[in-house]
């Protein structure tokens, strides 16, 4: 489903002439199979977010290849990657990334609008999805009028609405309390089990790491170890 081959990345900082190259990722190779939940752990600053951003196409890798669903995405241009994203990838962010001027309903509906779906169909699907995450009663609330957990559920609804085979999540529970976190993890497991959605989740929380079939640990920009969790 996702294959990363010999991926290396570094950031260049500073003004021209006095530039410093900071190596972040070195020779990363791994793959995620269909229906798997893979978590990536590592210390702060180890390059987890950078890795996910590369897979998401938000930044371009300096070296190496990324394949998703059989397509080599690492050299797609911005417009092509956008089209690829809306059909194949769902995103859950630590800070939810909802559009504050849109209601919960409108936020969830947004990917369908971008896909060019008709209004009637959109309404049906959006309502269904809001029901699924238990927020139908909150559909006219703006993000500012929702709790953190509710906001995260809206953002999950938005990620799920286009039926993506893969969901990428960067610290999805980072802004939630432990109880809400548990609900979310349960929901992720359900989605994985019932719909076969593949998850690539970044976390530094052991509880989150535990739901994965596999855990990859990053250290100093390299894969330190890969652990298969027997219980899952």
């Amino acid at each position: 489903m996702i294959t990363v081959k010999k991926l290396s990345h570094d950031f260049v900082i500073g003004k021209k002439g006095r530039q410093t190259i900071i190596p972040i990722l070195r020779d990363i190779s791994f793959s995620v199979e269909k229906g798997e939940i893979v978590t990536i752990v590592g210390r702060s600053g180890s390059g987890k977010s950078t890795l996910l951003n590369l897979v998401s196409g938000f930044i371009h890798p300096k070296e190496g290849e990324i394949w998703i669903s059989g397509e080599k995405v690492s050299n797609l241009n911005e417009a092509k990657f956008a089209d690829f994203r809306i059909h194949n990838l769902g995103f859950i962010f630590q800070s939810f990334q909802l559009i504050p001027s849109m209601t919960a309903f409108q936020n969830v509906e947004l990917p369908l609008i971008l896909k060019g779906i008709n209004e009637g169909e959109r309404r049906k699907q959006t309502e269904e999805m809001l029901k699924k995450v238990g927020l139908l009663d909150y559909q006219d609330h703006y993000p500012g009028e929702l709790s953190g957990g509710q906001q995260q559920r809206v953002s999950i609804a938005r990620a799920l609405i286009v039926n993506p085979p893969i969901i990428l999540a960067d610290e999805p529970t980072g802004s939630l309390d432990s109880e809400t976190e548990e609900d979310l993890l349960k929901f992720i497991k359900e989605l994985n089990r019932d719909l076969g959605i593949t998850f690539l989740i970044i976390t530094h929380d052991d509880k989150v790491a535990e739901i994965g079939h596999r855990t990859i640990e990053l250290r100093d920009g390299r894969i330190f170890e890969e652990v298969r969790l027997v219980c899952n």
């Binding site: 951003n53 998401s56 938000f58 930044i59 911005e78 417009a79 956008a82 089209d83 690829f84 994203r85 809306i86 059909h87 990838l89 995103f91 962010f93 800070s95 990334q97 909802l98 559009i99 001027s101 947004l110 990917p111 609008i113 971008l114 896909k115 060019g116 008709n118 209004e119 938005r158």
Partner: protein, 449 residues
């Protein structure tokens, strides 16, 4: 993304900062109204001038003044031979030729009299050119005449006082000849200076017809059409061609014989307006001096074309200034909405879609501005046309005789304005829209935290 949804997005976005959008629309509307009103003056004056020109003359008419004499540079009057050439030209409907008595004939019926212009005309061609009678028939005999429609209206009693005209310049009814005219004897009296003494000759004529009322309100036809024979009789008396009056103070002109057997007023009527140019060109090639409204119209229109282009150009500057506002508004909109743009891009919005939404927004502002500007300029144009005559009346204390349209907005003008405004809007909205597509997803999302 469907166009409908793009429009909805744009409207939602515009609602987020109503005052700013409103001010930008206002500036654009002002620019457009300025352009339209400014150019409308050019259109209005052109319309007035053209109306004036075409009202005074028949548009298919070509005046022929004479023919250039080779080598000498002078002109000679049009002769019978020339007329035959004219009549053979393609698309010529009629060639009217008139000889004018070179002095004012004094006409009288009984106790009533009136000085009037005396003309010898070729009736078949006059009829072809559109001459119609309101009463009677065309002359057959040599002493038979046709008078102009206004001739009887000015036939005044001989001892009428000086204030015989009313305030409209018309002869008061009490002094006017009221008897019948057709079949009546009309006498023409001509004069000549002979051996230093003024001599007069009176020739009896019979009225057989009255021409039709001129179609133009202001036109007055008071001429009397006599026959060639009568003219010859007059010439025999005066001893000069066409009854030319000798002046006691000046020499007898030597070249007066060139007027002999030539026409004083030759008009060619084309079958339609389109043919006028072709006929004039042919005449010009044959060295005839001609004049037609169509020719003059062409020049007038040319001048106004340049003037209007200049006015539109100046107006465009106003729109350009307004476009700075659009640029500013759009740049701020992009900056403000960068986080939203980042999120949309992260979800999978195509950069092209984002660009289109912003271009749509700036065109929306531009078009609404142009529409409001157009409406306002129609109002201003109306007000100007209403107010300026009043102001002139105030300033000069009298009714303006001149019926000038100061401002006219033909359909094409708003179209031009909207096209210019739209173009300018797209240009000024392009950079901000381009910037929107370059919003960095990660930076935009980080800012929101």
């Amino acid at each position: 993304m469907q166009l409908k949804d793009q429009f909805r997005f744009v409207r939602q976005n515009m609602k987020k900062n109503k005052t700013r959008v409103f001010m930008t629309i206002l500036a654009t509307a002002m620019g457009c109204a300025f352009l339209i009103v400014l150019a409308s003056v050019g259109f209005g004056l052109q319309k007035s001038v053209v109306k004036e020109m075409t009202e005074q003359r028949v548009i298919t008419q070509i005046d022929v003044h004479g023919k250039e004499i080779a080598d000498q540079g002078g002109f000679r009057p049009v002769s019978e031979k020339d007329i035959q050439i004219f009549e053979k030209l393609k698309d010529v409907k009629a060639v009217t030729r008139r000889k004018m008595l070179q002095q004012e004939g004094n006409f009288s019926i009984g106790n009533y009299q009136e000085p009037a212009q005396t003309v010898v005309a070729n009736f078949p061609s006059e009829v072809k050119a559109g001459l119609e009678l309101s009463a009677g028939r065309l002359p057959k005999g040599e002493d038979e005449v046709v008078v102009g429609y206004n001739f009887p209206l000015n036939l005044a009693i001989k001892d009428a006082p000086d204030d015989r005209y009313d305030d409209k310049g018309q002869l008061k009814a009490e002094y006017r000849y009221t008897g019948k005219l057709i079949g009546e004897k009309l006498e023409i009296t001509v004069r000549q200076l002979k051996d230093g003494k003024q001599e007069e000759k009176t020739i009896p004529l019979t009225v057989v017809g009255i021409s039709k009322k001129p179609t133009r309100e202001w036109a007055e036809d008071r001429s009397v059409f006599i026959s060639d024979t009568i003219l010859t009789e007059i010439e025999n008396f005066t001893g000069t061609p066409k009854g030319y009056l000798l002046d006691p103070n000046s020499e007898v002109p030597k070249d007066q014989d060139i007027h002999e057997n030539s026409f004083d007023e030759v008009k060619i009527y084309a079958r339609n307006m389109e043919a006028v140019q072709g006929i004039s060109d042919q005449l010009k090639d044959m060295n005839y001096a001609t004049y037609s409204v169509v020719n003059e119209l062409k020049e007038v229109n040319m001048i106004f074309m340049i003037a209007k282009a200049g006015l539109i150009f100046i107006g465009t500057i106003a729109i350009l200034i307004a476009s700075i506002g659009i640029y500013n508004t759009m740049t701020m909109a992009v900056t403000e909405r960068a986080p939203d743009i980042g999120i949309m891009k992260a979800i999978g919005a195509n950069p092209k879609t984002i660009k289109r939404i912003f271009l749509l927004e700036s065109s929306y502002i531009g078009l609404i501005g142009a529409l409001i500007g157009t409406l306002v300029s129609y109002g201003i144009s109306y007000a100007v046309n209403f107010a300026i005559p009043l102001i002139i009346k105030q300033a000069f204390g009298k009714e303006t005789e001149i019926n000038i349209i100061f401002s006219d907005i033909p359909f094409i003008l708003p179209v031009i304005c909207i096209v210019i405004c739209y173009g300018v809007t797209i240009i000024s909205g392009y950079r901000p829209a381009q910037r929107a597509t370059r919003v960095d997803v990660l930076k935009a999302m980080r800012r929101e935290v």
